[in-house]
Symmetry: C2
Subunit: 162 residues, 2 copies
């Protein structure tokens, strides 16, 4: 999306976008939220060019949004995890998810539903449990495939898209 910086902008929105506003960045974060942790996994899920993915992952690690952990030596292999800073992007993702659900609807219904881990209640646009009323954070929620997702999978067996 963005080159990277927005000089002269005294604005926290611009500052956020400098960090996560580049093309693919937020989708990579979303993928890690979805449980994809490895380079190849994210690459095939997103269809992003490998050099770009490499650059974005490095940036996200540099910005302390992701953490790169070695899960195997010889050959060295890595997995990416969300830091607290990364987890705190959850409200942003929820807001985008809901806006997309509303204005770019998937045929058959929302492709992804968010539920409160504790009580199972649906999670509102603002990340609040509609059953128990709690203001939730990333760790309090789980995702389940929604009707739109299931419909799409029934239509085309492949296409693992998140």
């Amino acid at each position: 999306m963005l080159r990277r910086d927005y000089p002269d902008q005294i604005c926290s929105i611009a500052k956020s976008l400098e960090v996560i506003g580049e093309r693919w960045s937020l989708l990579i974060v979303r993928d890690v939220f979805n449980g994809h942790r490895r380079f190849g996994e994210i690459q095939t899920s997103l269809g992003v060019a490998r050099n770009v993915l490499s650059a974005r992952l490095q940036r996200l690690v540099d910005e302390d949004i992701l953490e790169r952990r070695r899960y195997q030596e010889n050959p060295a292999r890595y997995e990416y995890f969300l830091t607290e800073k990364g987890l705190d992007l959850w409200p942003t993702l929820i807001a985008l998810l809901n806006w997309g659900d509303r204005y770019s609807p998937t045929p058959g219904g929302p492709p992804k539903l968010i539920r409160h881990k504790e009580c199972g209640g649906p999670v509102s646009e603002r990340g609040i449990c509609e059953d128990c009323g709690k203001v939730l954070h990333a760790r309090d929620a789980i995702q389940v495939p929604g009707p739109g997702r299931l419909a799409a999978m029934a239509g085309a067996g492949a296409a693992e898209s998140a």
Copy 2:
């Protein structure tokens, strides 16, 4: 940020980013939230190239996020306003604002504060009034310059940056 589209992604986040994920798009929306309505106003506030601003505005109008109204004939002059769809980006902007406030802090404190129009209470990260507890929407809130903004203005008299 983004070229434009993320094919094969069955995901409302990706769909949202296809619409507003391009470089400058969200900052243009933010500017209109801030009361900038005219081409030149937005251009100088953002420092975006004029051809790019032109393209983004057209896209945002095509996507029904902004509305272009003629405020003068001969020569024809236009202003841009947020539609309901555009106003519904408010929670996303609030989420980005708060994430930026937290992780890319402006020296002196947040540059922008959001308050509930009705009761004057501060607005939380989720767009909820911390005084009266209401879940707010774009029209319920106003912005006031925060300490970081005032500090920056005192330092450099110019720099109208939003």
